[in-house]
């Protein structure tokens, strides 16, 4: 049987199924995908594309979001969507925009590029810099799980200091990741990206607002969303929202908004802000810090990072 025949058969069956079981949701990213229950990234991604609207074309990096939503010959996407490679969605996005320009459609159709932290912080980093330099009117969304989730939780450039990953094990000579998370926010600002914002899966309304705000601004836009990874972080499948909030409340992940390089919004930490331990305790990836006698000192280092974020981004 050729692929074309197989595809024909399968598509026929799917159409019948659609008739029989009317899709209960009307999102642009639909159920039926194969992400883990309670995935922070999929929650965020659904709201991002809904806020962008149906006149949007997506260029998606390789990663969990791609692999869980596009098993051939099915797709969860109700907008035109392309996946090329791990490191190139930003350049693919530039190409889409150029084609739209040549068709006279660039004012009507939006281009959304999305990738995980591996694609954004590491392997696709140079191409993102190129896209920002070109000044393309593209929204780039990074879904940051702080780990290579799709390949089974290895350290990326976004992995926090001290976190346990499959390539940053705690042991006799290590307390987890010896490196520090890259500051993508400031890297974007250094490119003079006119709209730069961060948020987390804990704040759905904030995600929606920021996506809409981004589209009011012409030029490159970057939204960095911390999206808890249930198995990668070792949290429960009902915790993505709560942990996403706690990351902000502790100052561990600052939620801010910059327009033309100016800090215009910063989500304040509560008066009685929780200590970083409260955040760390939720994760298996930081468990070793509480067992190992050397952990105390490291927790203090992480608390210092939180305090520094609070001071730097005026989160109090």
């Amino acid at each position: 049987m050729t692929l074309r025949q197989a595809q024909g058969d399968k598509m026929g069956k799917i159409k019948i199924m659609q008739k029989k079981y009317k899709n209960p949701f009307e999102h642009l990213l639909n159920p039926g995908h194969t992400a883990c229950p309670g995935c922070g990234q999929l929650i965020a991604a659904r709201h991002v594309i809904n806020a962008c609207g149906k006149d949007t074309i997506i260029a998606n990096a390789t990663g969990c979001l791609e692999v869980t939503t596009s098993k051939h010959p099915t797709s969860s996407w109700k907008v035109p969507w392309i996946h090329s490679l791990f490191e190139n969605p930003s350049a693919v996005g530039t190409g889409i925009l150029a084609a739209l320009k040549s068709k006279g459609l660039d004012k009507k159709v939006k281009v959304l590029v999305q990738g995980g932290d591996g694609s954004t912080f590491d392997i696709g980093f140079g191409l993102i810099s190129g896209m920002w330099e070109r000044g393309d009117n593209i929204l780039y969304v990074c879904y940051d799980t702080e780990v290579y989730s799709n390949t089974g939780y290895q350290a990326s450039g976004a992995t926090p200091h001290d976190a346990f990953t499959r390539t940053s094990w705690p042991g006799k000579k290590s307390l987890g990741n010896i490196l520090y998370k890259k500051n993508m926010l400031e890297i974007a600002l250094a490119h003079r990206v006119p709209y730069v914002a961060t948020t987390t899966s804990g704040y759905i309304e904030d995600i929606k607002r920021k996506v809409k705000k981004a589209w009011e601004i012409k030029g490159p836009k970057f939204i960095h969303i911390l999206t808890p990874c249930v198995p990668g972080w070792g949290i429960n499948d009902n915790q993505a929202i709560e942990v996403g909030k706690l990351a902000q409340k502790t100052g561990f992940f600052p939620v801010v908004e910059f327009v033309n390089g100016e800090l215009v919004n910063a989500m304040k930490v509560p008066q009685d802000k929780p200590k970083v331990e409260e955040y760390l305790k939720q994760h298996i990836r930081f468990k070793h810090l509480f067992k190992d006698p050397r952990g105390k000192e490291e927790i203090a280092v992480l608390q210092k990072i939180c305090d520094e974020n609070i001071r730097k981004y005026n989160l109090k």
Binding site: M1, T2, L3, R4, A6, K54, D55, T56, I57, A59, E66, V67, S70, K71, H72, P73, T74, S75, W77, K78, V79, P80, W81, I82, H83, S84, L85, E87, N88, A91, V92, G93, T94, G95, I96, L97, A98, A99, L100, K101, S102, K103, V109, G126, L127, S129, G130, E133, R134
Partner: protein, 373 residues
């Protein structure tokens, strides 16, 4: 080159500079700056990005073009496989150049032959006229089969050589190559949302690859067909049938097989040797992918000696074209096929070397022979 690309009217051009491709994209950028061209011209930060830009544009349903060379082509490799798998009709010019290390900016064909398995149609021109014509044919071929096409021209030997050429008028080109109409269901269109580049599990992947294999192999027929159409419109064709060109092979007892600009030198030598009564000929390969297996077998079966001239090597085996030729001719011809490697890293290929190779083709050495002096 820039002029013919301009007349072919791509909608999006994206490139990154590399010797000896640079002047092609410089001139395209200049045309854009002077308001002479309608295409979107995108400078990128690497060849990897340039290939990705044309991928994205092509997937959005417009005609696209890029050009590169050597390291640039190798840097693009991952994207090139992807473009073919996505069945996008991108056309690329490869200004053939040696591959590092040692770093060397001069001509050989190691770059393009190295990515022969990427799923692209690969065509090689002997002269600048042929290269121009191959671009017109290449775009038509790409768009009719939804397959990417790479047109190869030897760096410096062609890219930096002045030759009189006829660049057809836009109206004539349009007659052969009308505006690109993309297939409706496989492009990025908000009115007809589709997912492209989805992932295939083991129960699907193999058939998709098989389909690509079969379609590239079947492209031979389309090349032959388009070549006769091309002849009707432009009054000249590419070789005998768009796939190969025979030069004095009919009664030849020794036939050399080669591709690219070296064929010009070989033809000169053949003329000289023929004057001296030697029955020698040349089989020029234009279409390296798909490889014209049957055509080649039929041409070579009467020759007594066959020598294949490569400007590349598959290290650990022999010349790349030589291997392909042996495979294509297996069981079809009796003559021994010998592998000769010439011109690596821009070493001049002289008439004397070709004369020597005609002699060596009759010899007993069956190993790969490097002819550099």
């Amino acid at each position: 080159m820039a002029e013919i690309v301009h007349r072919i009217k791509p909608a999006v051009v994206s490139a990154y500079p590399i010797t000896p491709q640079t002047h092609i994209v410089e001139d395209l950028a200049k045309m854009k700056a002077e308001g002479l061209a309608d295409f979107e011209y995108i400078n990128t930060e690497s060849e990897f990005a340039a290939a990705s830009v044309v991928l994205g544009a092509s997937a959005t349903g417009v005609r696209t073009y890029t050009a590169t060379s050597s390291q640039g082509l190798l840097l693009m490799t991952e994207v090139l496989f992807n473009i073919a798998g996505l069945r996008l009709p991108v056309v690329i010019t490869c200004a053939n150049r040696a591959v590092s290390s040692p770093i060397n900016i001069w001509n050989d064909q190691q770059d393009s032959v190295t990515i022969r398995d990427a799923g692209w149609i690969q065509l090689y021109g002997e002269t600048n006229q042929e290269v121009i014509d191959l671009h017109i044919l290449g775009f038509k071929l790409a768009e009719s089969l939804m397959l990417p096409v790479m047109v190869n021209m030897d760096g410096f030997a062609l890219t930096h050589t002045y030759e009189p050429v006829e660049i057809p008028e836009e109206s004539l080109i349009k007659k052969f190559l009308p505006a690109y109409v993309p297939p409706k269901d496989t492009i990025l269109d908000v009115n007809n949302p589709r997912s492209l580049g989805t992932f295939a599990t083991p129960d699907r992947y193999m058939e998709i690859r098989q389909e690509l294999f079969e379609d590239v192999a079947a492209a031979k027929k389309e090349i032959v067909k388009l070549n006769s159409e091309f002849k009707k419109v432009f009054g000249r064709g590419l070789g005998d049938n768009g796939l190969v060109e025979q030069y004095k092979t009919k009664d030849a007892s020794i036939i050399l097989v080669a591709m690219g600009s070296v064929c010009g030198t070989i033809k000169e030598v053949i003329d000289g040797l023929r004057d001296k009564g030697q029955k020698v000929g040349l089989l020029k390969i234009i279409s390296f992918r798909p490889f014209p297996d049957d055509e080649i077998g039929a041409i070579l079966n009467k020759a007594k000696y066959i020598g294949v001239i490569d400007k590349s090597i598959s290290i650990g085996t022999e010349g790349v074209l030589a291997s392909d030729l042996k495979r294509a001719c297996f069981g079809k011809i009796k003559a021994p096929v010998k592998s000769f490697v010439v011109g690596l890293g821009g070493r001049d290929v002289t008439e004397k070397m070709i004369v020597d190779i005609f002699e060596m083709a009759k010899g007993k050495n069956n190993g790969t022979q490097f002819v550099g002096k």
